[in-house]
């Protein structure tokens, strides 16, 4: 693969969508500002020009209607990709998502399929306040019937999107704004990646070992993977060798990958930008201890957003967000370096 193929997350997403739209006339895109604007977070840049207004549809601010329409179109043989601009807006349209898209397959014993991708922007760190900065991984992963994916880099972004579009079940595709490589928002090094031009898929439920290590397992997803990797580098200098697991999807959840790693390291830190309680961190930790609490040589730690709405002022939001420093501190605790 030519090394000039380093793409941003958004370019990678768009490439996957465009490829599927070329290959399959049943694929269409709907959402607010997905046309001329190209998606507020550049998730649809250029699609209108190539595919036209019939297949790339700007919608009114009517999430209940256009996501419901996505379900209806999917059941009628189309493969809609629908954008919910910010995941924070789920509250105005959750019924169409969790009670319809996610359940119609079950209610019909699989006789009806809902091959819809709902893509939505997540995450904070750029001071956008409490209704535009949430992650809400667990809000969706807790409810049955949706596959839930959250890529951490451009390579996965393309492969997971291709898999999502080809999946006959509804897939919630959660992309972190800070990983899109937008000209106007800082992104971590490593969010952009070499991306093959040809189409490829990444299976759901297969975590990726982002960094091998032997002393402690750091489990993360989406943006948190980059914080985990940065922490691991810093820890290496202190002589601690951390393994970093990128879950890539919440549903299905690759519990085996976590167990394999913890069986090796005996120590566990789980990092998530979503709210702390009743979230991903608890699910991962419980998945380990319910299998065998003996695997853990020390108390597991979670690094997540505290149970408070997301504050607007930078110092307060940064205080709450996971970051490499907080992860290092948590790892240090699991290593018994500091009092828990």
């Amino acid at each position: 693969m030519p090394s000039n193929r380093v793409l941003t997350g958004s370019r990678a997403m768009v490439e996957a969508i465009a490829h599927e739209m070329r290959a399959d006339p049943k694929v269409l895109v709907m959402g607010e500002d997905v046309g001329a604007y190209g998606g507020i977070f550049s998730s649809t840049t250029g699609l209108l020009d190539e595919f036209g207004e019939e297949r790339v549809r700007d919608t009114p601010i009517s999430e209940t209607a256009f996501i419901g329409a996505g379900v209806g179109a999917a059941m009628a043989g189309m493969r809609p990709i629908v954008e919910l601009m910010f995941v924070d807006f789920f509250g105005v349209c959750m019924d169409a998502i969790y009670n319809m898209a996610a359940k119609n397959t079950y209610f019909s014993a699989g006789h009806c399929k809902v091959p819809m991708v709902l893509m939505t922007a997540t995450g904070g760190g750029y001071d956008d306040g409490g209704q535009h900065s949430q992650t809400l991984h667990a809000t969706f992963a807790h409810l049955p019937g949706m596959k839930v994916v959250a890529p951490s880099n451009a390579y996965d972004a393309k492969g997971l999107m291709t898999s999502a579009i080809r999946d006959d079940s509804p897939v919630l595709y959660m992309f972190h704004k800070g990983l899109q490589g937008l000209a106007w928002m800082a992104a971590p090094e490593g969010a952009s990646a070499e991306v093959p031009e040809e189409s490829y898929t990444i299976p759901f439920g297969e975590a990726r070992v982002a960094r091998e290590g032997s002393d402690v397992t750091i489990v993360a997803i989406s943006m948190a993977v980059h914080h985990a990797l940065a922490a691991a580098e810093a820890l290496a200098k202190e002589g601690a060798d951390a393994e970093v697991i990128d879950l890539r999807s919440l549903v299905p959840l690759d519990r085996e990958a976590v167990l394999r790693s913890v069986a090796k390291t005996g120590r566990l830190v789980v990092v998530d930008e979503d709210y702390r309680s009743f979230g991903l961190t608890a699910e991962v930790i419980t998945s380990v201890v319910e299998t065998d609490p003996g695997l853990l040589k020390s108390a597991p730690r979670r690094v997540a957003f505290p149970d408070v709405p997301i504050p607007y002022a930078r110092p307060m939001e940064q205080f709450c967000l996971p970051d490499p420093g907080k992860i290092q501190a948590a790892v240090a605790q699991t290593l018994g370096k500091v009092p828990a």
């Binding site: 269409l28 019939e54 297949r55 549809r57 919608t59 009114p60 009517s62 999430e63 209940t64 209607a65 256009f66 996501i67 419901g68 329409a69 996505g70 379900v71 209806g72 179109a73 999917a74 059941m75 009628a76 043989g77 189309m78 809609p80 105005v92 019924d95 169409a96 009670n99 319809m100 359940k103 119609n104 397959t105 079950y106 209610f107 019909s108 014993a109 699989g110 006789h111 009806c112 399929k113 809902v114 091959p115 049955p144 019937g145 596959k147 999946d167 006959d168 079940s169």
Partner: protein, 328 residues
């Protein structure tokens, strides 16, 4: 536009079948639930919303539909499912929660899904509007002249989903017909306690689409109105909103104490029963013979009896099969 003899007989048969279906279901549902009503007992699980009295809404619209047209119905779906041609055995078995049901008992009375006839329904008020709009969009993108019909109760016309879907369907000029079954009640809440306008068809003005009101549960009038709307939609003329004044004979659900409505309301309504009125019309105003009507009636009843028989005889699902079909 006058219905042909075949159309009249078809509508009559559908309405008679739907009525007999609901009356039969009312009986079956109460088995094991009386004398003391216990929702968790008896052969028929769950809640039960029956549509006796509302048959015109089903027959008068679906008479104009094809198999490839989509219908999304409400929590009160039996009459519409029957009119759309959903397999009566599988549907009844589903309502009995049996292995042979449409979804092997996973969905139930409020969740009847039949891809063979493009029929679906839902237990959430207003949920029919979005998917019908999407089916209309699919037809347009697929280049067919199929249409979609969304059924809603008059109570649903105050749910946000109704507004959003009508605007979207009108904006995109999609082939969707929104049919409001105004049975005057949303559980215990009367229409004038829920809706700022007396007639929901007025709300079509908010979307610049035709809105038509059909009074007095009139099958023949609805036949005309719906025929025009379907024709218009097929021709690319966009959506229509129809409100039908209809009657609800049973309680909101079986077991409804009905403390909220006058005791004599239903008897008053039954005096204008739409099936008897249609029969009267057929025998009085057309050359349809009583024998033909009786035959249609007998056939309809036989099919219903057979469906209940099939459902009762069918096996329960295996408990562990609950874990299947979460994903496609």
């Amino acid at each position: 536009m006058q219905p042909s003899k075949e159309q009249l007989l078809w509508m009559y048969a559908v309405m008679a079948k739907a009525r007999y279906y609901e009356d039969t279901m009312a009986q079956a549902y109460m088995e094991g639930k009386s004398p003391k009503f216990d929702i968790g007992a008896g052969p028929v699980p769950g809640e039960m919303h029956l549509a006796a009295g509302q048959e015109p809404c089903a027959a008068g619209v679906c008479v104009h539909l094809r198999r490839d047209d989509t219908v999304t119905a409400t929590h009160r779906p039996h009459h519409v499912a029957i009119a759309k041609g959903v397999d009566l055995n599988k549907m009844t078995a589903e309502i009995f929660g049996k292995r042979t049901g449409l979804a092997g008992g996973r969905g139930g009375h409020m969740h009847l899904f039949d891809p063979a006839t493009n029929f679906a329904c839902s237990g959430i008020i207003g949920e029919s509007a979005g998917p019908a709009t999407g089916a209309g969009l699919a037809a347009r993108l697929q280049g067919t002249d199929a249409v979609a019909v969304a059924y809603l109760g008059e109570g649903a016309a105050n749910q946000g989903a109704f507004h959003e879907a009508l605007n979207l369907a009108a904006l995109w000029q999609l082939p969707v017909i929104f049919v409001i079954e105004d049975n005057a009640w949303a559980i215990s809440v009367a229409k004038d306690k829920s809706t700022a306008v007396a007639d929901n068809s007025l709300r079509a003005k908010a979307y610049d689409i035709p809105g038509v009101h059909v009074a007095d549960n009139d099958t023949l009038e609805l036949f005309k109105v719906a025929g025009k709307a379907v024709k218009r939609a097929r021709a690319g003329g966009g959506p229509t909103l129809i409100e039908v004044e209809t009657y609800r004979y049973y309680g909101h659900f079986q077991g409804d104490p009905e403390v909220y409505r006058p005791k004599d309301e239903v008897s008053g309504l039954k005096a204008r029963d739409p099936i008897l009125r249609l029969r009267k019309h057929m025998l009085g105003k057309t050359d349809i013979r009583e024998a033909e009507v009786e035959q249609a009636l007998a056939k309809a009843r036989a099919e219903v009896d057979a469906a209940f028989e099939f459902a009762r005889k069918s096996a329960d699902p295996a408990p562990e099969d609950a874990l299947q079909h979460v994903f496609a």
